[in-house]
Amino acid sequence: MNELLGDYSPVHYAGATYYQLPQLPPSKLRISLTRGVQTGDREVGVFKGHGLDVAQPYGWASTLLLELPDPIPKHTIIKELAQGALPEEISRRPKVRAQIGDHDARQGILPQLVRAGLDHRQLEAAFCRAFHIHNPVDLHRVVRAGIHQPPPPGR
């Protein structure tokens, strides 16, 4: 849902800016963000890994959601889609990014990584090891603009 509505902004944490976004109008940014979701299983894969089948209901309305004009009244859209099934405080709650975890930034993955001293280079190296990409330069053959494909064989 966040990708479909472009509900993202860079995160400022510990003196640095993370998750920077390209300078694009929201309508174009939403399309790019959604492309990334469509090619991966990051939304449901972690659950599948534990034997749980998960569906992303907003995906069924993705075409219509991407056609919405900017600016997107997210709260109104969620309320309409839920048709009264969600309490008002849920649809109106302030967004807390999973990467940060909570308002004190203690539990999210970003604070954990920063505290552990792991930066993007080390994460890239770990990704390469996990997917048997022997030359880090080849990363861009696997991931481009948030979209990914299987590593080329024999590299």
């Binding site: 976004l21 390209p22 300078q23 174009k28 790019s32 469509q38 053959r141 603009a145 948030g146």
Partner: protein
Amino acid sequence: MQPGQSTQEIAATKIEDFVRQIGTIASDDPGFHRQADLFDAGYVDSLALVALTAFIEETFHLSLTEQDLFHPEFTTIDGMARLITTRIHRSCTPPHTALP
């Protein structure tokens, strides 16, 4: 647009100008040319590619697919221009004269 310029040349010029702008590439950078692999050479990263993709789609009124982004031609300015030109010509070709 200069008289006699081909669609491919125009496309390459527009893409080169855009990549130079978003990549803040020096005008005398010897490694930057239209046959350079923009990804291998580090002129375009994922963030820049998102902007470039949006620029191409808006400028040339076409949609790029996920496969396009990984197409071997889509690594150089000239290759991108060829892909765009092919796509434009294909969309202008009447159905009864389309190539198999």
